[in-house]
Structures are given as C-alpha cells and as structure tokens.
Amino acid sequence: MRTTLQTLVYLRRLQPAQRALLGKKRIEGRFTAVELLELLRPLAEFDGLNDRARGNSAWLIVLLVVVLVVGLFVAHALSWLFLGIGLAILLITLATLIVVEVRLQRLDVSNNLRRVALPFFAVLREDMPSDEPLQVSVDLTPSMTTAKKLRKDAPYALGSYHQVVDTHYADPWFSGSARLADGSRLRWEVIDEVLHSSRTKRNPRGKIKTKSKFAKRSLLRAMVSLPKDNYQYSDQHGVPTRTRITARGDDRRTAVKLSRKLKSGDAEPFDVGELIELVSSAYRRVRPATQGAAQ
C-alpha cells in the first residue's frame, strides 16, 4: 500500500513529456546522451516502483477479497448493522485498489528500459562529446502484441500434450547510432524473437490443462566504424567469443560488423553487459595507430 502511494506520488512529479512517454511507450529522435538520461532516469525509477507496487497490490486485492467473503458470511450469521460499515469500507478500498492497479498496469513499460537501454546510454555518454546528439529508437511495448506477431503455427501433438500451438513474435525494440569522441561511428540494433508455446493436455482426472512456455532469442547487432588515422585493425585475437565479427575497410575507415545471439527461457531482458561486450569486441581488435592522434 505504501509503495503504491509512493508510485502515485512519483507519477505526479514526472514532467508532462515523461508522462507522455509512459503513454506512448516509444522514444524516437535525436538527443544528447545527457538529455536522454535526464528524460529516462525518472521513468526507469517510476517503472521499478510501479512493478513493486503492482506486485504488492495484487496480493492485497486477493487478501481483501477473502476478508470480504468471510465478512459477508459473518455478517449474515450475526448482524448486518454491526459489520455493514466495515464491509462498505472494505469494498470501497478494494474497488480503489483495483482501479489503481489497472491504471498502473497501463503505465507499465518494458523492463528493457531500465535493464538495457538506460545503462547503455549511460555508458555511451562516457564516449560521446557532451554536445553530440545520438539517434535512438526504443520501443517499450511488450514483445507479445498483435502488431509484433510474425505467425502462428498449425497445432501439433507433443508427448502427453495433445495440442501445442506455437506463436512467433519479432520485436526490434532498440536501435540507434552515435558518433563517438574518438572519431568512431557506432550503430546498433537489438531484435527479440519470442516463441510462445501454448500446450494443452488432459490430466489423469480428465481435466483439460493448458500451460504456456516461452523461449526468447535476442539478436544483438552493431557496427563500429573506426577511423584508420586512429586505429589499426587486426583480425588476430586469441580469446574465443560468442560474437560473430566481420570487418571491411576503405582508405579512411574500418567498418567492424558484430553480431551475437542470446537465448533465454523466459521473457526477462538480457544483461546490458552483453551489448557492451559486443561493442567492445571491435575495440579489442584494434591498436592505436602509430601515425596520427585521436583528438
């Protein structure tokens, strides 16, 4: 209850532009890293509070419903007058909680914001001139929406499940480009591919049971274009990685393309360290050029 109140107070303190983003759940445009961080940090904090508040409220709603049902039986057995006022207060509290829960649910944004996008921007800020804007596109709507549905496979049987229906979603939720302080250019893209498998079986007592399983594959892609005046690229690198790397150069730059696939059994965001590691893979393969300086 206290967290819910904190969340509502925090919501009122957000700037109109931040509240608009909570409604749109999409960030697009050119911003400096500092602007982005100032815009998104309060949103991330609100989202963390919101997640905790809704988790607590759900339990409270269940508890109040149980108390309400028990109260009705007790009131019926004893005296309606005695318990009527208490039950009315309980009912109003329950209705208020449900309304707040629904409202907060609508304002929920993907955890990708605070677990991946925001920390990545905080890291990029370090490598960018303070007045240089970066182009970003962040989609914070859930991965499993109709708009992101790729296809629904024909039902099939699998073991004890007489019907399995797989639905595939593609969520290209994060992309952008930036010019870094060392003269390099960075482009990145993250696509989440989610498989939702709805599995139905009949249990020994004859009841029909359906359960959902998820599998997520995140495709991380980046291109770092390094100025040859500053960096000499070398393909020789001893440590094996999970990153696929190709490099192509002209007389001025070396364009290093990097990609990596991450698999997960749930819909939780991947660790932002994976994206940072992907970009760093380009820098691991270069050494400072002996001719020219990086300023």
């Binding site: 060392d182 094996p240 691991r284 400072p288 990086a294 300023q295």
Partner: protein
Amino acid sequence: MSGCECKTGFFALRDCQEPALQRCKSCHRQMCRRHGSPDRSKGRCLDCAARAEPASPPASRLPGSRHVPKADTENTALDDHWVYNYRHRFYSSGYLPIYAGTHHSSYYDRYDARAFENLDVERDDSERDDSKRDDFADGGAGFGDS
C-alpha cells in the same frame, strides 16, 4: 595541468575537460564536480569509489568464452557511480581500454591501457612536480611521508 585528472570514456579513455574543484582524498588526483563520488563525506573520485567496492557479482561465462561482468542494473540508480563501478569491473575482467588522452596518468596503468605512441603526452611525474609547486604556491602543506 589544472583541470580534472580523471579520465572520461568507456571503450576509449580521454581527458576530462572540466575544471578541477578538489583533490581525491584517496589517489590525490584533481577532480571536477562530476568525477567526485556521490558519497561526499569520503571525498573520493568515482574511480577510487569504484575500486573500493566489494568484489563483482558472478560473471556469465560459456566454456572457452570471455568473461562478461554482470551489469547489476536492477537496484541501482544507473548514475555516474554505477558507470564508473561497471567500468572498473569491465576493465578488470580483461578489457584493455584505448588511452587517447594527452595527459598521462599512471592511475590507469593497472588496466594495461593501450596508449597512442606518438601523442605529445604530459607525463605523470612532471605533473606531480607541478602540482607540488602549486601546493606550495597556494600555501598548502603538500603531501609528506608519515
């Protein structure tokens, strides 16, 4: 050098252009407002605050692959303190940052930073001499052996 001696950057380090406001009580480097740790009472720079943090959370690792330090983004404000903490863990996990600054500081030598050979760098030793002279000129006590 009269500016902040902390280095900004993640993949490639470079000089911070901000004016210095105070000295770090731990490494004695000059630091600007941004590079001061949020914990003002300790008067440390963000780098020293990061180095003083306890050991990193478990890293994700596949057989034969490189160690990727976990970012631990769930319960943090994702502020400069988080960035410098993560930077320290990332460098400690084996990443050798490119060093593109013009002022060399031995502070980052432990990360085996890869420096540009032909930069006209101000060496750390001469800088220390200058800073001592500044301390005396300002009437400061300087740093003596205890």
